[in-house]
């Protein structure tokens, strides 16, 4: 009898914590990743699609909030077919060897205008720490996450120093989510 009671408590605790934490899980409905880089003084815009992510976020429980997102550079699109083909090669994303870009939050804190996610980004085999400032906007059971950050492409071996192509790439990420888990 005592054994059954213990099992019952465990089950109840698990259900309760799932209910509590489930409240903070956000299921991806749609995503957008757009990047901008200056080439000869003009901004080139590109995108990646098929972003996947697990998000647990509550602005009241930032210490328990986290996300892990992945992007596939094979989906890169800049509007010029041959350029996309080149970007997938070894001197840029090297997609055969490194098919995934991963961003994993380590800590999220409140900022003046929203939140700052301290993350580890793994791109082309290199892991670096970055901070992604983001906004969170919730409407009932829906929420949007919108972040912007910049990278130095040379830190990740994306191409080489160029007199026309900027080192800095600006990245906008947007995710439309609803309550629940993927």
């Amino acid at each position: 009898m005592k054994f059954k009671l213990i099992i019952g408590y465990i089950a109840l605790f698990t259900l309760a914590s799932n209910w509590v934490f489930g409240q903070d899980s956000w299921k991806i409905d749609s995503t957008r990743l757009v990047f901008y880089i200056s080439n000869a003084g003009l901004d080139v815009e590109g995108s990646m699609t098929g972003i996947t992510a697990q998000i647990k976020f509550s602005k009241n429980k930032l210490d328990r909030s986290l996300f892990v997102a992945e992007a596939k550079p094979e989906t890169i699109h800049t509007g010029i077919k041959l350029r996309d083909k080149h970007l997938k090669k070894a001197d840029y994303f090297d997609i055969e060897k490194y098919p995934t870009i991963k961003i994993e939050s380590k800590k999220i804190i409140q900022s003046k205008n929203g939140f700052d996610a301290y993350c580890a980004i793994t791109l082309k085999g290199q892991t670096k720490e970055i901070v992604i400032p983001f906004m969170f906007k919730q409407t009932n059971r829906k929420a949007e996450f919108k972040g912007t950050f910049s990278l130095n492409r040379l830190d990740f071996g994306l191409g080489e120093k160029s007199i026309v192509l900027s080192d800095t790439v600006k990245i906008d990420i947007w995710a439309g989510t609803s309550r629940g888990t993927n």
Partner: protein, 519 residues
């Protein structure tokens, strides 16, 4: 043009003048630091390997090279194109009265001296034939037949040479022959993509010879033409049909191929009938990192220019390609020094001549651009140029990133990424020149767009005549009729690849072309 044809036939028929071999040494100058041309260690670094990694290329040894006798370069004089027979006679007589002038009789002292002498080397013929009274008449007939662009007063591709008192010779096969451009207004641009239709002239010459040939001589004629073209074009390790065809090709077929080559394009030795090379613009060569459309040779310093000139004014015909020596009578035995049976293979330039040539080539400047477009149009074109990503490869200010792009069908070995500047994506143009010829490396270099206003045709084999055609999407279709080089037996042919700047509006295209023509 019988004499000229005879001369050309002589080259192709493998008869060369040989002189006594003398020991050659690197020329030392107190004033100039002249690199050693035939430095095997440097040559090994500067030559890119053939596409097929199993083929090794061995040039002649330093000992062989420096035993070749040095060429004497005599002052050359322009060929006046005049209908005034009396005026021409007086001009020829005046030349006959001149003493031969060895242009290197006095060692140059200044950079300007070098440049001036280098220009003479540029214009110096590799071969000559005796001038005759009928020369000008024959030349004019040839100009008409082969539609040779000519300048207002002179025939800038050949020259008169006085290497013996009272004798005039006509000099041919100089650098200037292929690298002089005559513009529509009759002005000439030295060093530019030339428009002398050498192959077409050869085709007409051989066709005339064939017409008057007795039937019993046909077999011999076929064999002679075939042997010559095998020397010039064969890459025996390549199994592509364009190469195997050379084993049995007839004179008539060769003639058809030759006649199909337009001005600005040539079947450079080491290329082939359907894979000819666009003649490169030498203006701005100082800033190019690779030479030849296939990037066959690197350009790291003036020594490499000297090496390029030595090889391509025809000592590469003595290279051994896995034992195949193009200029050897039996294709395998290196001829005795100074007795190679091929034009340009039995003597060599002196180190000073090559150095001066390099200095002259480095000094070449584009002429004043006569194009004038509304500034707004040019600005708009520049924006399109940037937006369409052209800047990535055609990066200002050189309008090339000076890199090599691998062609479809070739994967660069890992070691190449360390040795060469590789822009690792194919722009999907026809890969055959880079894959199936002696000049093939598996790459095309990214050409500079500087000076496109005076150049034509475009593409590594010169398949389209104008920038408008290059940006015309219809060229990608199989029923396209190339406006530049069209292979002899093809009625239509898609000119694939480099699909940039095609999906833009008509106005944007006009602006882009205006911008390009200002470069």
């Amino acid at each position: 043009m019988k004499r000229r044809t005879l001369l050309r036939s002589t080259a192709l028929s493998v008869i060369a003048v040989s002189t006594a071999a003398i020991l050659g040494f690197q020329l030392k100058s107190a004033s100039f630091d002249i690199p050693k041309t035939w430095d095997i260690a440097e040559i090994t670094k500067f030559m890119l390997p053939p596409t097929d990694a199993a083929v090794s290329v061995t040039p002649i040894s330093e000992e062989y090279y420096y035993k070749l006798p040095e060429r004497k370069i005599f002052k050359s004089y322009p060929i006046l194109l005049t209908d005034d027979t009396e005026a021409n006679r007086k001009y020829i007589d005046s030349l006959k009265s001149l003493d031969p002038v060895d242009i290197f009789q006095n060692e140059p002292k200044t950079e300007q001296d070098l440049i001036r002498l280098g220009e003479e080397v540029f214009s110096a013929p590799l071969a000559t034939f005796d001038y005759s009274d009928s020369f000008l008449t024959e030349l004019k007939a040839s100009i008409k037949n082969a539609e040779i662009p000519i300048s207002k007063k002179t025939f800038p591709y050949y020259s008169y040479v006085v290497d013996e008192k009272s004798k005039i010779k006509v000099g041919v096969f100089s650098c200037a022959m292929c690298h002089t451009r005559v513009m529509p207004d009759g002005t000439t641009i030295k060093g530019a993509q030339g428009n002398f239709p050498l192959d077409k002239i050869d085709g007409f010459g051989a066709e005339n010879a064939l017409k008057s040939l007795p039937k019993e001589k046909l077999k011999e004629f076929d064999e002679g033409m075939r042997a010559g073209r095998n020397m010039l074009q064969k890459a025996p390790w390549v199994s592509h049909s364009s190469q195997t065809e050379l084993d049995t090709i007839s004179a008539a077929r060769i003639i058809a191929y030759l006649k199909a080559i337009p001005s600005g394009v040539m079947i450079r030795h080491g290329s082939n009938y359907n894979q000819p090379t666009n003649i490169p613009d030498l203006i701005g060569i100082k800033d190019r990192k690779y030479l030849d459309y296939t990037g066959l040779m690197m350009h790291r310093n003036i020594g490499d220019i000297m090496r390029y000139a030595a090889f391509n004014q025809l000592l590469d015909m003595l290279n051994s390609y896995n034992g195949y020596i193009p200029a050897a009578t039996d294709f395998k035995t290196l001829p005795e020094v100074g007795k190679a049976p091929f034009l340009g293979c039995s003597d060599r330039y002196s180190e000073m001549q090559l150095y001066a040539l390099g200095k002259y080539l480095y000094s070449l400047k584009a002429p004043k651009n006569p194009n004038s477009f509304p500034p707004d149009l040019v600005k708009k074109g520049e924006l399109v140029f940037k937006r369409e990503g052209c800047v990535t490869c055609h990066t200002p200010p050189l309008y090339t990133n000076n890199k090599l792009t691998p062609v479809d069908g070739f994967t660069p070995p890992a070691s190449h990424y360390k040795s060469y500047d590789i822009f690792d994506v194919s722009v999907e143009t026809n890969p055959e020149l880079a894959l199936y010829t002696r000049r093939g490396t598996g790459y095309y270099k990214v050409p500079s767009l500087l000076g496109v206003w005076y150049r034509s045709p475009f593409g590594h084999s010169g398949n389209v005549a104008t920038l408008e055609d290059w940006l015309d999407k219809r060229r990608l279709d199989d029923d396209y009729v190339p406006t530049g080089f069209k292979p002899a037996f093809a009625k239509t042919m898609a000119i694939k690849g480099h699909e940039f700047g095609m999906d833009i509006t008509k106005e944007e295209k006009t602006a882009l072309i205006a911008f390009l023509k200002t470069l």
